[in-house]
Assembly symmetry: C2
Homo-oligomer: 390 residues x 2
């Protein structure tokens, strides 16, 4: 028995779940139904919109509380957060950083900002993220241990860190990866930009890496307009993260001195105010997104050739962007499906172009990337706003 | 006849001008008395707080209009703006960039982000900014022309660009500097972070450099919470500035491809909304700040040993931060004065520590910096909020 692939059936399932009445269902829409206006108005009324004000501290506390990570440092966006995480993990110019080829380009760009080189790793069908087993075999083959860490035998460069990414909110198998990092002496930094509200074995993502990065861009689970955060359980790194993201000024009531080449990566109080109101709603949003995943899973059960991607067994995911997975035999229909869905008013998109195929990164070191290739051919993201859940 | 230096007389002049009634007069306070609420609320009501929405475009148009520069690109802050300006001016790793030693550390940090080296230049008593005459003599001595530009004979590095900064809003002598850049084949980038509303010979600052950077931090003439802008009259650079500050994604309705190592430096719509309301008030703020300068100038006429710094003859300044200049013989009283003024509730501060004295930059190339030394000993900034004018 061969299955068939009917675009019309997919559109009908999308219609059933989203109950589209208007002409257009966005991919992911923010929802402001809590204290957003109250807090933002207070910033404007008091004049505290910028680098001083109570909301940045409050936002950081709420975030540490929610994730269970000891220190949260609010920054200007997720890209800045990844950049600083890598820097504080000790990534230096000409180091290599292991990173999935299937991630948003910011992960690789942040590596470039450090003067380091992305080294692309394959993904797993179970998590959509980095495959620890395949990585282990690969490192066995290409790496060698030296006094100051792990080296790539082929390029001669140090492999300083690995940057797993919890794809669309689905956690990577962290226990396996931690063991590898330990054995090969590679620093672990989590790109948790997409996984606020996602848990691995009962503990929030962002708790495993030496440092982790979160994003609050407008398309994320909760938003600050633009924003991000650095998470770490290490006191010293937490202090340093705050210091170098705020120009590394030495404390003094009026004089200016700076002890590092710092950054202006601070999140304005205005944006943090919005974020505080959003964090108050986060648990509700996550519930809604998980409900939506079940609605989609059921609706697509009836549709041949596609399946909703469900969280790995060790995870509780935030289902940030819902993933519709095409069977390999129908991958060639993807563009046609995207065109039809977008024209019908369901905003859908493919996953990112794998980074080793992007011109600036095509000469970077990489392992066999067959799974990434397959996933890239087969994934489409479908409307995922929490408000769609009923 | 020797003058005397009486801290009490200075405090009295500060009291007279600021009419302090509360316990504290800040250095520079934002003022939100226009459409700030209206525009920000609209962002929250419509959900457009992030990378999409009308206010970023509107803000960019208003800014281009106000400054007379053809293209304005809103970014996340002034530091990011300087970084991108230098990058697009062609600054590459191991180049040198001429920059005043007397500027905020962000100017030098942005040079470092490019992998380039700050090369410190002396300032002028007339403008508080870069001294073109002294720079000319210095370049005559240390530089040599090669096929691809100007080289430092001593370090062997290329001198790619010069980054003048309009200190506290007072414009540098741009005609003289332009002539030098032309003669020595050095790119001109203006750090106009502090000079929105300042004119040199009737034309707004930011119009002279190949590219220029503005800041909208909370302490600036107008604020977006955190924010900045890149200004340029060059069409191609304007387009490229927008492109690489928004992750350099190739235009496509759904697919992801990127053609440069870009940045996430975009200004969120929420912050741009605040900025639009602020720009509507800018002309009024500048008038108030110029009035305040005259009030201070008069008040300090009566006080021995200090003088209010007034704009150079070719300029119309925004008087962003008012500068009280101590006579050299009383420079040793500065710390005492700062302490007394801050304790009395007048927020005052010294100018930045000269960058060649900051640990990370102390081994950078530099010319004789006597004027910077003298200015750094003698400048204090005094309360400058536009609302203080009457
Ligand atoms: C995996 C990943 N890393 C980093 C980022 C960067 O975050 P931001 O857009 O807030 O800079 C994002 C989101 O855009 C992301 O999805
Ligand atoms: C001279 C100068 N350059 C750059 C900046 C950086 O601007 P921002 O604080 O918006 O990053 C500032 C202001 O802080 C400044 O005064």
């Amino acid at each position: 028995m061969t299955t068939t692939f009917r675009i019309q059936a997919i559109l009908e399932a999308l219609q059933k779940v989203t109950s589209k009445q208007e002409h257009f269902v966005p991919l992911h829409e923010p929802s402001f139904q809590g204290n957003e206006w109250l807090y933002v108005k207070e910033c404007i009324d008091t004049g505290w919109v910028s680098s001083v004000g109570k909301y940045v501290n409050k936002f950081e506390e709420m975030l540490a509380d929610y994730t269970g990570v000891k220190h949260a440092i609010a920054v200007v966006n997720g890209t800045a957060a990844v950049h600083v995480c890598l820097k504080l993990a000790g990534v230096e110019p000409n180091d290599e950083v292991l990173v999935p080829a299937l991630t948003f380009i910011a992960s690789a760009n942040a590596i470039s900002y450090c003067g380091a080189i992305p080294h692309f790793v394959d993904s797993s069908y179970e998590t959509l993220g980095l495959d620890p087993v395949k990585l282990d075999h690969y490192l066995m083959e290409i790496s060698v241990q030296r006094k100051d860490g792990c080296y790539n035998k082929i390029t001669g460069r140090r492999i300083k860190a690995v940057l797993p990414m919890h794809t669309f909110g689905h956690p990577v198998d962290m226990d396996a990866l931690l063991e590898i990092c330990d054995r090969y002496k590679i620093e672990l930094v989590e790109d948790a930009a997409e996984s606020l509200g996602s848990y691995y074995k009962g503990r929030h993502t962002g708790n495993w890496g030496k440092l982790s990065a979160v994003s609050f861009n407008g398309n994320k689970v909760v938003t600050t307009g633009g924003g991000g955060a650095i998470l770490t359980n290490n006191d010293e790194l937490g202090k340093m993260a705050k210091h170098i993201t705020t120009t590394a000024k030495k404390p003094h009531p009026w004089a200016f001195d700076h002890d590092h080449i710092g950054f202006n990566y601070r999140m304005p109080n205005l944006n943090a105010a919005l974020g505080c109101a959003q964090l108050e709603m986060l648990s509700k949003f996550i519930e809604q997104k998980r409900t939506l995943a079940n609605m989609y899973a059921n609706a697509f059960l009836q549709v041949d050739g596609v399946k909703l991607f469900m969280e790995p067994s060790f995870a509780k995911s935030n289902y940030w962007l819902q993933v519709l997975m095409l069977e390999e035999q129908f991958a060639s229909e993807k563009e046609k499906l995207l065109k039809a869905a977008n024209e019908a008013g369901f905003m859908t998109r493919p996953v990112w172009k794998p980074l080793h195929e992007i011109s600036m990164y095509q000469n970077c070191p990489k392992m066999n990337l067959d799974v990434v290739g397959s996933l890239a051919r087969r994934i489409i993201n479908i409307p995922s706003s929490p408000g769609l859940a009923r």
